[in-house]
Symmetry: C2
Subunit: 340 residues, 2 copies
């Protein structure tokens, strides 16, 4: 309950901060440069007329604001960092969509699909710069210059890990010997480190000591890893209705997720099964059978549990305080149960 209340307050403040950064006060139609960015954010349609589209869960900025408050800080001071991370996440989606050739996102055409690859690459670059600019606004709300420099350094160290994860992910597509360890290192870069940074920066801006900052950072990283592995499990065994996408899709697309990589490494039967076309009858059902007998589900569930426990352990060690602590607990449970 407390989470919902806080999210309502936070999301309104976050949107105001981001609208300032994207020159989107809504008073006039944006020029195409800002219009394309506002389109990706869900604020305008492809003709740059006002629109309002679901813009994602905003987990990263919410975590930044909650950890700042839970570590004894004023969440308003962390707003520039929260906006920065949400914009950074969105920049990476714009470029990922080009790299993966994804035609739709959040129920609409992707930026490259509407305006072509060249403009879409540039839109992503402009959002990347905007995310950096967002972080520098910490200085305007009274955060010390030393902390702002640390935040910017950590932001870009994290971006290097992010691009490194993306590079590995693309290389994996053409390899058939990817190990589960390589996969876990890849999702750490591609997904977990930015969630870790979200928690780290909240605590840093609150003025927490180095040990506490580090516990929050580890909480976010392990939470991100757990979240991704659970996503992988649902991609094979999930209930389509609950997660809103076809539970069979990871098998049909032969996507190299954790349970599938484990299965391929431990089941020669699955290996030869995957050499067939996915259009053959019973392809999915037979693949699930092979995965189950290889112990892939048990392995993935044990991995997810390990990460989840690590996350919860680090959160406890960080000793969060007040309402925000309760909201963090609530958020953690919802994310790990995939009810958010």
């Amino acid at each position: 309950m407390i989470l919902k209340e806080k999210m309502t307050t936070y999301q309104a403040a976050l949107e105001a901060e981001m609208r300032t950064l994207f020159h989107a006060d809504g008073s006039e139609m944006p020029e195409p440069f800002y219009g394309m960015m506002q389109y990706h954010m869900g604020w305008v349609d492809a003709g740059f007329a006002p629109d309002s589209v679901y813009a994602g869960k905003q987990i990263r900025p919410i975590l930044t604001l909650l950890t700042c408050a839970a570590a004894g800080g004023d969440w308003r001071k962390a707003l520039p960092a929260a906006a920065s991370l949400e914009i950074m996440h969105n920049f990476s989606l714009v470029h990922d969509d080009i790299e993966d050739g994804s035609p739709t996102r959040r129920g609409r055409e992707t930026v490259w699909k509407v305006w072509g690859n060249a403009q879409a690459i540039n839109v992503g670059d402009a959002m990347f710069a905007t995310a950096q600019l967002a972080m520098t606004r910490l200085i305007d709300v009274g955060v010390s210059a030393e902390i702002v420099v640390t935040a910017l350094r950590r932001l870009n160290e994290t971006c290097i890990e992010l691009t490194q994860g993306q590079c590995a992910d693309m290389q994996f597509e053409t390899r058939d010997d990817v190990t589960t360890d390589e996969y876990l290192a890849m999702i750490r870069g591609k997904t977990a480190v930015l969630i870790g940074l979200a928690c780290e920066l909240g605590a840093l801006i609150a003025g927490a000591d180095a040990t506490t900052v580090s516990h929050y950072a580890r909480y976010g990283i392990e939470l991100g890893l757990a979240f991704q592995v659970i996503d992988d499990i649902l991609g094979v065994w999930g209930d389509e209705g609950k997660i809103g996408k076809s539970a069979e899709s990871d098998i049909l697309t032969k996507k190299k997720t954790l349970p599938i990589l484990y299965g391929l490494a431990h089941s020669p039967a699955l290996q030869s099964h995957f050499e067939q076309s996915a259009n053959t009858p019973n392809f999915v059902a037979d693949a699930v059978k092979h995965l189950d007998s290889a112990g892939a589900k048990a392995f993935a569930e044990a991995t997810a549990s390990r990460y989840s426990e690590e996350a919860i352990g680090h959160l406890q060690a960080a000793q969060p305080q007040g309402d925000a602590a309760s909201a963090l607990d609530e958020l953690t449970v919802l994310l790990l149960r995939r009810q958010m």
Copy 2:
């Protein structure tokens, strides 16, 4: 003479700084993630074996180091900023090459041509983050946190202008009513502001007062504008041998440069001439005749002179000191005469 001496010293230090950032100490073959970036920098070949390829004029970092020294600072303190701007420039080249579909750069295949668009987009993103990280290293050489935050803010405000210029440049390709004013605003963003920032940051890091910093910034911007307009003039009337590219190319490709836009706006004869295929006999010679009678060369030359005088005026007003002042004068003359 003094310029050549300083450039030798500066370029060695700059390369060392950049090699640290790209994990390129040369002791072992890089993994692909850093290898692709090192390839673009000219340090390795496409198989990641050591190579040494001309990596451009490095005007931006040289200007940063010279203005820092000329404003009374220690140029070594400005090295992180110099590296940052050179890497930022190179990031933009990687993405521009994809956006323009350019297959070669500096005599080799471009990154996208070797590894494909998806990896090349990601390589550019990683270089963008590396440029930011480079700037944060100012704090390690004793620059105050306040100045580092200002440098990072200015870096990203400049990147927004850069992407805005690139966005306009791409839009111009499909428009036939681009004005010379719109064109000059576009090259300001696409080319001039990063050169302006190079000079601004050198002075800022030297601890110069706001007026002096602003003169150095304006010097760089006007220099960048003059440089680009002179490039446009050479693109039509230049001597192929001197500038190393076909002087006829801007007419053959109907590129919308300053003199050509002026000609199209003032000569209906050029307009109808450009409606023909460029493969027709005497296409270039006839176009030059139309441009000359429309006064396009005179207009472009007057524009270049105005920018050049502004640049020189702001450099004088900044009151540069010592050897570095002489080197700056030398560099300015060489750039405006296009002998560098």
